[in-house]
Symmetry: C2
Subunit: 112 residues, 2 copies
DNA sequence: CGTGTAAGGAATTCTGACACG
DNA sequence: CGTGTAAGGAATTCTGACACG
């Protein structure tokens, strides 16, 4: 996935009515999940909410969990946890790469 | 670019006001280019136009050409020409692949 | 040809609030 | 807590048309 594509997923350009159609959620629900900090739409000049495709995916996850009876507070915790996991995974990858580079460098030195 | 990403670029979910902001074109211009068949937004149940990111890219190309004084008829021709080129390119790729497969097959036969 | 604009109507979106369970 | 709903106002979008160069 290149930069260009990423920008599409992230770009907040979809209005709430369309999001409602795409997710099957009511306007009320979508706005409420925002109130509970589960999503953060962009607001244009005159306050209209704009969502990205990522927001839509998040909303669909939320919908599934709500159907299973999970409360918004719990969903928020889960989302934050996953965020932390992604961060630490990225950290691990960075360290592994550094380790490999060091190994390479040492092999190079041994040969001289 | 996987299927998932493609669907984002192609999905017609952006309303004309947002497209106007993103492209710098007026509503009038955007609707006119549709009249001239340069773009084909989706229409939802009650007739509201919905555009994709691809449509937006196309509109930006159109804007550039219009600035250079190219008429919409010419732009339409250019777009159709490019479409044909893409088709024939795909055709060539398919033939090349077929050729390679045949070659492979023949080599296999020679060995037996 | 390409674009602006005023016109009238219909649908969208927003907020704050009351309701219910 | 999560969601529905009615309320009032502001902005959006649509179409068909006249205007201009």
């Amino acid at each position: 996935m290149n930069h260009q594509d990423r920008s599409y997923k992230d770009k907040k350009v979809i209005s709430i009515g369309t999001v409602s159609e795409l997710t099957g959620l009511t306007l009320r629900q979508i706005r409420y999940y925002e109130e509970r900090k589960l999503i953060a739409p962009y607001r244009n000049e005159r306050g209209t909410r704009k969502y990205s495709f990522i927001d839509i995916e998040t909303l669909m996850d939320i919908a599934d969990k709500r159907e299973d009876g999970v409360q918004t507070t719990e969903i928020l915790k889960e989302m934050k946890l996953k965020e932390k996991q992604r961060e630490s995974d990225a950290e691990v990858r960075k360290k592994m790469l550094r380790g490999q580079l060091n190994a390479q460098f040492n092999i190079g030195r041994e040969r001289n």
